[in-house]
Amino acid sequence: MNSIIIDGMSFTLPLFIMAIGGIYSERSGITNLALEGLQGMGAFIGALAAYIAVNCFGMPQGSAYYLAFLFAIIGGAVYAMLHALLCIRFKANQVISGVVINLLATSLTVFLTKSINKAAFGAASNKIDLGVSARYTVPGISNIPVLGAFFTDVYPFELIIVAAAFLAWFVMYRTPYGLHLRACGDNPHAADAAGLDVARIRFTAVMVSGALSGIAGMSFAYSIFAKFSGDLYVGYGFLSIAALIFGSWTILPTLGACMIFGFARSAGYQLVQMAGLPSAYSDLIMILPYVLTLILLMFFSKNNQSPRALGEVYDKARR
């Protein structure tokens, strides 16, 4: 039971923070299929920064870890500017832009990883090794049955994510900026008439989605994969898009959707292990979260409403 919660949370939280990023972008009116590429680019920049800091400047692993996250946030946000630029300034089709941003991120990061490894470190390798991050247990609280598992073997990034998620929720629902952002996604014409700079708000929202996706990508790189490589692009970005649509573009229900993915996944693995089944059966168990999602969606999709101006190019001249 405990390990279901421990593993479940370490998968749920990165997914959740990426989904929040998606919510920011989409609530401002910019369709964001680029999450997959944004998290990969963030993880690549972060991993590279940590690797250089450790191997060239002798920084201890512990501080390099936080440096990696800092650079992942910056890398994700800067790369997201490309999506923002295309969608807002160049009026590109947002779905197309998202797909291409993913394609570019995948090819560019793998290409750069190989080239940098060859040129700078003299080794033909297609990955940047990071190792799995250390885990911490909160003494005292962790002894409480069931609930204590949430405080056992916690990755430091889970703390970063919880803090970032809370901040993101606060900004979205409790500040003027959040209100303006949501207005831009529902009725940009009215928002513009009220004196808001729609383009700027959307631009920053897309950058936020990049920054948060960067955190997610870095978390996956430090937990499941223990490295940066092309393997990182397994579709978790798309999974978080599914979660945010399931959560109807609101933050708290999206957390629920992410928890379904996270816990069904870890429970499935646990089940296969406990029953002593051959590992092939874990494939069968792995479909559980997705089947469950589809069934739940059948009941809860009736009122599922996307932001009204989602995906529309905002043209001031047409007001």
Partner: protein
């Protein structure tokens, strides 16, 4: 009609500019890496059999390279058509890879491992592939119109579900112990006549290419000349307005996804039972995702898709030969492709610039004329 062909020209121009821009940026990157971009691009064409290589391995020639290229091209055309049909109806089918796998796995198990003779097996593979793919596509359409489930979510979920189920059955029942992939299908059922020897030279003859050409023509006809095509496009352009105009919106959503699924299914069998003969467990092919980009570059029109597939697949397939000749990483090819696509995504913006330039020119002319009149 005249207006239509005009916009096709405009699009071709935009795609041309994008292509040029992508190739230029790619050339700059290659030059920075200290290689000659012209030789590199020459290698791309050599790798696909469009230009002659310096030397060939035994039993191969330029024509056999070209035949393998067409073999590689076939599934991409079909998959991109699949994207386009859905896109025309305003739907985003991101589940093509899953539908391809569904179709290919069904056909592999039912026909690929059977002793049926080629004359029965090959048509049956196409039929089963189309049926299974169509069913998978229609399911997404059904979930959309019955339960209002966003097609992006349901197709992503189905991608995962299919991937894991197929992987389970391959690993437990149909695995080849050495390659760790599914056992290869029988030659009789395979849609590519692999390594056929004609006067000492080996060719890969893709029978599926005929299907791809036929599908392109048929789809162009349906979209441009039939009521069904008109309804699909109307629903895609404005769902609510076409509902008021008396078009059955949900029926059209279902139909669009059915056709999209059928095409994806055909792409699946031409890929897994043509280009290759096995299925790798726990992986979805890239074809389904890259097809989205190809369809976009081809402006979602069958003719455009045909050209776009050729361009993108030349870069993709030629990259292997280029990287071996130039010691460049293979991924440089995808980088070039992405830049081409990025640039073509800004088509609307180019159009605007063009319009501005034209307006400025006419304004200047008017001013000039005004001055002349005053004199």
């Amino acid at each position: 009609m005249k207006k239509h062909s005009g916009s096709a020209w405009k699009y071709l121009r935009i795609s041309g500019i994008s292509l040029l821009l992508g190739l230029l940026i790619g050339a700059a990157v290659i030059a920075v890496l200290g290689k000659n971009p012209f030789t590199a691009y020459y290698n791309l064409l050599q790798g696909c059999g469009f230009l002659e290589k310096e030397k060939y391995a035994g039993g191969r020639s330029q024509l056999s390279d070209l035949s393998s290229f067409i073999d590689y091209l076939t599934p991409m055309i079909l998959a991109a058509l699949s994207v386009a049909v859905a896109m025309k109806a305003g739907l985003f089918n991101i589940g093509i890879s899953g539908q391809m796998l569904t179709a290919a796995f069904t056909a592999t198990v039912l026909v690929g491992y059977s002793p049926l003779p080629a004359g029965i097996a090959k048509p049956l593979v196409l039929l089963i592939g189309a049926a299974a793919g169509g069913a998978a596509g229609a399911l997404i359409g059904y979930l959309k119109y019955k339960f209002n489930i966003n097609e992006v979510v349901s197709s992503i979920m189905l991608n995962y579900i299919v991937e894991y189920i197929v992987s389970f059955f391959i690993v437990t029942r149909f695995v080849d112990p050495i390659s760790r992939q599914s056992r290869p299908v029988s030659d009789a059922s395979r849609l590519t006549l692999s390594e056929i020897k004609i006067s000492g030279i080996k060719y890969d003859i893709p029978l599926g290419f005929i299907v791809a050409v036929a599908a392109s023509l048929l789809l162009a006809f349906i979209l441009d000349k039939t009521v069904l095509g008109y309804d699909l496009k109307a629903v895609g352009a404005n769902r609510r307005a076409s509902g008021y105009a008396g078009i059955h919106v949900s029926k059209n959503i279902l139909t669009a996804m059915l056709i999209s699924g059928i095409l994806a299914g055909l792409a699946g069998v031409t890929y897994y039972m043509g280009y290759v003969a096995t299925i790798e467990p726990k992986t979805l092919s890239d074809v389904g995702f890259n097809a989205i980009a190809v369809s976009i570059l081809g402006n979602n029109s069958p003719g455009g898709i045909f050209l776009a597939s050729i361009v993108i697949q030349i870069i993709d397939k030629g990259a292997t030969y280029m990287s071996s000749q130039q010691t460049l990483e293979v991924e440089i090819a995808s980088v070039i492709t992405s830049v081409i696509l990025l640039s073509s995504a800004c088509g609307l913006f180019y159009g605007e610039i063009g319009e501005k330039l034209r307006n400025a020119r006419t304004a200047a002319r008017k001013q000039h004329r005004g001055k002349e009149a005053a004199q």
